[in-house]
């Protein structure tokens, strides 16, 4: 069976090549759709059918002369031509939709044509596919038999792609749901903070709702949401960072026995920990170079500003009070250093201790706060461990390390097959072999990432399919992490 993704990798398409394939594919798919629709209303001796057949054959001829063979195939609802995904904008979706439905009813995922394709064979193909579409009750073998009987040698039907196992489907649905929740959380935070900055009281029902959903998802399996914490953005820094810190905090809290309702409060507090920053001038927040002393002084005000903002705009409830405490304490260290400066030392709130760890980790891996170049997650962890006991609570740090594991989501790995892979999750029983998305090779990047579990082995030999060579830096390979994290929809 031809896997378009394998096809693509083996062909090593360049960016320009891929664009050409997509263009050609679009033309062929449109023409095929017209031909099949014409066959439905006209008999083969009708002039319009003949005209469409002629046009289709010419298109095919050109492609076959150039590429040797062509493949039109559907996978995961996308149409591929010779392994390249055929891209459509919102218009012109009728043809791909038609073909996708037709292939499904005919029991195939697509077909391959070899260079010796004749016009008669293309005509037969169109008629048989059309018939199968009309009857709709054929399976792959049935249609294959008809093609065999018709003696169409230059066309090979492609069997339906293995239906994703129900587990995989569920995983995908969960990932999609996680993604929607994640973006909603972030967008909602943006709206809420706008309201707050206008000193208006906020409606927290939606915020609570989305945090409840985050808690539910994390308690059942934190993988899908942790994966998304690898998203970093410059423009949306504060909101994305806050959402990430919220997710890390809930994950951490869930691992040492906080109840769901406590997790919801913790997540709420974490989400608003940097709300004071939205009161600072953007030119300071987004300053590309180092801060001078007066800018530093301004930055150090954000915990206090956060408390003021929350106190003025939120109801005086337990969860909002936690948010105020966390906003004010999240830049304090265990040893009493940090800011804002207070006359007396207070013992830090548990939630503040949790958020501090998650905050530092996300800030350092984002590279937006107080330094320009983001460090790799693994580098950041290495830097954090020696600070246990001074800056961070050692037990909580351990729980955090357990949560994100040795290769936290977003870590870029170089694999032994010269492939580049982004970590998206971990295997609890083998921390050295995370779950990844292969995003390309050292020579070229793929259009979409391919999910892979580095713990998978070849059942015959027992050898791992792939192994880690080393941790790499995304900017070293100009990889846009977000693009691969968000490529499946």
């Amino acid at each position: 069976m031809t896997n378009p993704l394998d096809y693509q990798t083996s062909r090593r398409l360049s960016g320009t090549e891929e664009a050409t394939y997509s263009q050609r594919g679009k033309a062929i798919i449109n023409q095929l759709s017209i031909l099949l629709k014409t066959a439905r209303v006209h008999s083969p001796d009708n002039d319009s059918f003949k005209a469409q057949l002629e046009q289709s054959y010419q298109l095919y001829r050109d492609c076959l002369d150039e590429y040797g063979e062509t493949v039109v195939q559907v996978q995961s609802d996308y149409l591929f031509f010779c392994g390249a995904r055929v891209r459509y904008d919102n218009e012109g979706l009728a043809a791909p939709d038609h073909l996708r439905d037709l292939f499904q009813r005919a029991g195939i995922s697509g077909f391959l044509t070899t260079s010796d394709l004749t016009k008669a064979e293309l005509e037969q193909t169109a008629l048989l596919l059309n018939e199968a579409d009309r009857q709709g009750d054929l399976d792959f073998e049935g249609l294959q038999r008809r093609f065999d009987l018709a003696n169409i040698g230059a066309v090979a039907l492609l069997p339906p792609m293995d239906e994703k196992s129900s587990d995989e489907n569920r995983d995908r649905e969960e990932r999609q749901f996680a993604r929607r929740t994640f973006f909603y959380a972030m967008n909602n935070l943006k709206m809420v903070s706008n309201t707050m900055n206008a000193d208006r009281p906020v409606d927290l029902a939606r915020t609570k709702r989305v945090i409840h959903s985050l808690v539910d998802q994390i308690v059942s399996d934190d993988g899908s949401l942790l994966e998304l914490t690898a998203l970093k953005s410059h423009d949306q820094y504060t909101f994305l960072h806050s959402t990430n810190v919220c997710i890390y905090s809930i994950c951490l809290g869930a691992r040492f026995g906080l109840t769901k309702s406590e997790l919801s409060t913790l997540g709420f507090a974490a989400l608003f920990h940097d709300i004071g920053k939205t009161r600072l001038p953007l030119q300071v927040l987004n300053k590309p170079s180092d801060f001078n002393e007066s800018e530093w002084e301004l930055m150090r005000k954000h915990p206090a500003l956060g408390v003021f903002t929350l106190a003025k705009t939120m109801p005086f409830e337990e969860r909002c009070c936690r948010a105020m405490i966390v906003a004010s304490e999240h830049h304090y260290n265990l040893d009493g250093s940090g800011y804002p400066a207070l006359k007396r030392r207070r013992s830090l709130n548990l939630y503040s201790k949790i958020v501090t760890i998650c905050d530092v980790f996300d800030a350092m891996t984002s590279g937006r706060v107080y330094r320009k170049v983001p460090a790799s997650p693994e580098q950041v962890l290495r830097g954090m461990i020696p600070q246990a006991g001074y800056k961070f609570d050692p037990c909580l740090l351990k729980v955090f390390l357990n949560t994100v594991s040795l290769y936290p989501p977003g870590t870029l790995l170089l694999l032994d097959r010269h492939e580049l892979a982004l970590v998206v999750g971990k295997n609890a029983d083998d921390l050295l072999r995370p779950k990844v998305k292969i995003v390309g090779t050292t020579q070229r990047l793929y259009d979409r990432g391919i999910r892979m579990n580095l713990a998978d082995r070849n059942p015959q030999t027992g050898a791992y399919y792939r192994s880690i060579v080393r941790v790499a830096e995304p900017q070293e390979f100009k990889i846009n992490t977000a693009r691969y994290l968000l490529d499946e929809e």
Binding site: V202, A205, H212, V307, P315, S328, N402
Partner: protein, 574 residues
Amino acid sequence: MTQRISPLYKGLGYSQGEIAALRDLFLSLSKGVRASRQYPSQHPIPTQFKTLFFRKLRNFFESTEVLAVKVTHDTLFVEDEAIFKGTTASENIAGLLHRDGVRYLEITSGITEQEASSLFEAFVTCSGRDEGAEDIVNLFWQVGFEHVTYDVVDVFEVSEMQELREEFDSTREPAIADDIPPIDNESEPLELPKTLAERFTDLAVYSPEETATLREMAESDRTVDAKSQVVELLLLMCESSDSPQDISQIVEALQSIFDKTIQAASFPRMTIILHKIRDLLDSGDIESPTAKKRLNDFVYRCGDSLRIKMIVEALNRHEDLDLHPARQYLSELGWESFNHLLWMLGELAFYPARKMVCDLLVEKGIDKIDLLGSAVFDSRWYLVRNVVWVLGETGHARALGFLRRVAAHPDLRVRIEVVKALGKISDPARIELLLALTQDEDEKIRTMVAEELGRTRSESAYVGLRKIVLSKDFVDAPPTEMRKLIDAMVASGGVAAVETVREVLDRSPLFNRAPIRRLQDAALPALKRSDTPEALKLLTKLANDTKSRYSVTAKRLLAQRQFKQEKRVDDESA
């Protein structure tokens, strides 16, 4: 995550009887929810509806395992049979669910009374909610039901994913092969950072000490009072800051918190906050003059007109509030708030709250009679009445001046209160005022005044009363008033009063005898109010004079007197 579809919705095959029971169940729920909004939660009516709801649910589950309901904006369905239709907004429980995204609701047969009660309460909370309050899905979530599941459309499921994604698309830069630096073809050996790898080998294992520490952290966190911590934190920030701008913001935040505390009618916390600020000011730990000033201003504002207004609103919202903490808080306020406390009397909707403020004013007003008294000039009779009550309760002679000013108040209810107040002030100067009130236009007042005067047992009261009793018009007074006045005169006049009675009894006009006889008939029984030997002597004489028309009455009065005396002796010996 909530269930995405309700697998049980179809195919349960409810019988017609069950459908009817469900119609009844949800109708009763909707009525209960509406009724419960009008009563405090501890009131018997909501409690009854709650019990009823649970009982009906339990009956339904005797024959069925699952209740699966489809929700639309105004109708609840089971298996496409409408079982509830919300016709009015106040009873539309389907709308309450639908509005917040609930599309299916499933209850299973194990539902506990506690769960049923939480379900009921969630409906009540949501049906009366203001903009921005809890939504029903959040409430359900917080309850953490075991036997209630719901299928919900979350707002984020229909949000614009595409738009959000584009925020990341702008930073997309497709990589070009030439840009990618070549790397060594030979695989570098897998080399993990040693320390990290070692740390991670035992990462998954927690030592017993670590487990204990973590558990301890979670446990002790549950005792944290976050609200108190926030206040302490803000005060510490205030104490630590020397930037006037920061201090202003801190105090502003504190004020916002304090005002929300008032709105929530959390009087104990208000008192705590006030104490904390006062303690801090007293400690001398604040160096910044701005901070001192701002905090002093804060304390002043705790009882300003705006805050008192908010307190009144809070007290008027909750009829069943425990008023002790409220009184405690108000009693903390300084003199500058005294007028505002008086103002409260005119605004409070519920009697217990008014009583609480009156009691407080008595306590505080003893030293501030003039301030208190000035309120008698208010145009609202009910406020004046309360103030008069307070003046009376102080028992202070200075109150008399104000009572005099209000003794002719047009509202009878105020004047009644004045008489009662006079009864509570022991200063002799009150007699004159009471005597003046015997001329009040209302008989009730005059009668009350007479009783009050009698209780004074004072010479000056006697003199005044005698004058009234002997006046020409007195014979026309209404019977009760006449009797009470003479009683009062006898009670306060001693021997002289007995003499006055004799004088009345001895009168023998030539014509128009009837009014005089009425007066005499009222005067004779008044003798029993006098303990003097002269009264006994007079009675005995009248009793023995069998020709006198007073003889029979006098005998009866003597007998009563005898009986009373014997009883007193018995009681004492007992």
